[in-house]
């Protein structure tokens, strides 16, 4: 299994790269929301494009494009595939 040392925040992956969700360090309603969008541990996520300021960033999750704030995406730990 992946140890914490090999995981990086989702917000740090570059455009075009694909990663897999390892853990969600979010609480409460935001956690619920992220889970409802199908982002559960094990889900592959691709970074599609970044807005001019680099925040938010658009990710492809289960064939759906989802924009996340960097504040929130940085709480999601992933490993690169």
């Amino acid at each position: 299994m992946n140890t914490l040392s090999t995981t990086i925040p989702l917000s740090s992956i570059s455009i075009g790269s694909i990663c897999q969700i390892v853990s969600l360090n979010v609480k409460g309603l935001l956690r619920r929301r992220i889970l409802d969008l199908g982002m559960v541990p094990g889900t592959p996520v691709q970074c599609i494009r970044k807005s001019p300021a680099g925040d938010p960033i658009a990710y492809l999750v289960r064939d759906t494009l989802i924009a996340l704030r960097n504040d929130d995406a940085s709480q999601i730990r992933v490993t690169l595939l």
């Binding site: 409802d36 064939d63 759906t64």
Partner: protein, 256 residues
């Protein structure tokens, strides 16, 4: 339903949801993610017999339509399109409250055949609240174009509720849908909705809470589901319970 319950139900429907049914009319709630063709299904079933407005006190559209099948009349309520009904937004709250407190005779959950996986989240959430669920797998024509095949009977077996494939914009599958709604409304459909099993700690907490919940609210709501919301710390839901069930006296006990 006893006479008292029927009157109580009528009162809740009218007062809180602005819905007036004619005697003997069945109610059907229509739920689904955004962009799954929910409105197409709604239009295909109800045709021109529609009425739109707002949910009482909310700036959320409420569309109602009626249709007749085998001499029974149905009132269909189009709920807002949502990914979830665990209430972060007004739309989700409206959808949840109606399924929960409006107690429709059947809830039709429309899924997009081309991204079933994500859509099933909502279906499972609805199946936690009520066993009166019919799943409609729509956009089957799109799925065929994308070379996606769906084993409907396997899905039905997994979910434990009727699953009907449709391509609503071509009118395909609508008759089976009407028939499934009819059979569920008159009470001859037996379902065993698949329930999510949580971790041992959560299950233990549920076991502990359910008898207390049953004491407070009787059989008005599924106690297991209420226990899950309480464990979730969903205070908006406790407010909804008091609001809809007139349980002011029991509120304190519930909040513990």
């Amino acid at each position: 339903m006893s006479k008292f319950n029927r009157e109580e139900h009528h009162r809740i429907m009218q007062k809180h949801f602005g819905i007036i049914t004619t005697p003997g009319q069945f109610t059907v709630a229509l739920a689904g993610n955004p962009n799954v063709g929910k409105s197409t299904v709604f239009n295909a079933l109800t045709g021109l017999h529609q009425h739109t407005g707002n949910w009482p006190g909310k700036t959320v559209d409420n569309a109602q339509g009626s249709f007749t099948y085998l001499d029974s009349s149905f009132l269909m309520i189009d709920l807002p399109g949502t990914y979830s009904i665990l209430a972060h937004t007004v739309e989700e709250q409206v959808a949840r409250d109606f399924i929960c407190f409006g107690k429709p005779d059947a809830t039709l959950v429309v899924l997009d055949a081309t991204c079933l996986e994500r859509n099933l989240n909502l279906a499972l959430q609805v199946m936690e609240i009520t066993p009166h669920v019919i799943v409609c797998v729509n956009l089957m024509d799109e799925a065929i174009k994308k070379n996606i095949t769906i084993n409907i009977s396997a899905l039905q077996k997994e979910l434990g509720v009727p699953v009907i494939p449709t391509a609503a914009r071509n009118g395909k599958g609508l008759d089976s849908l009407r028939h499934a709604l009819y059979e569920m409304s008159i009470g001859i459909t037996h379902t065993t909705p698949r329930q999510i099993h949580y971790s041992p700690e959560v299950e233990r907490a549920i076991q502990e809470l359910t008898p207390k919940i049953s004491r407070c609210i009787g059989n008005a709501l599924n106690p297991r589901w209420v226990a899950l919301r309480l464990l979730d710390g969903d205070s908006a839901f406790i407010d909804s319970i008091t609001h809809y069930l007139d349980l002011e006296n029991n509120r304190k006990e519930l909040a513990v």
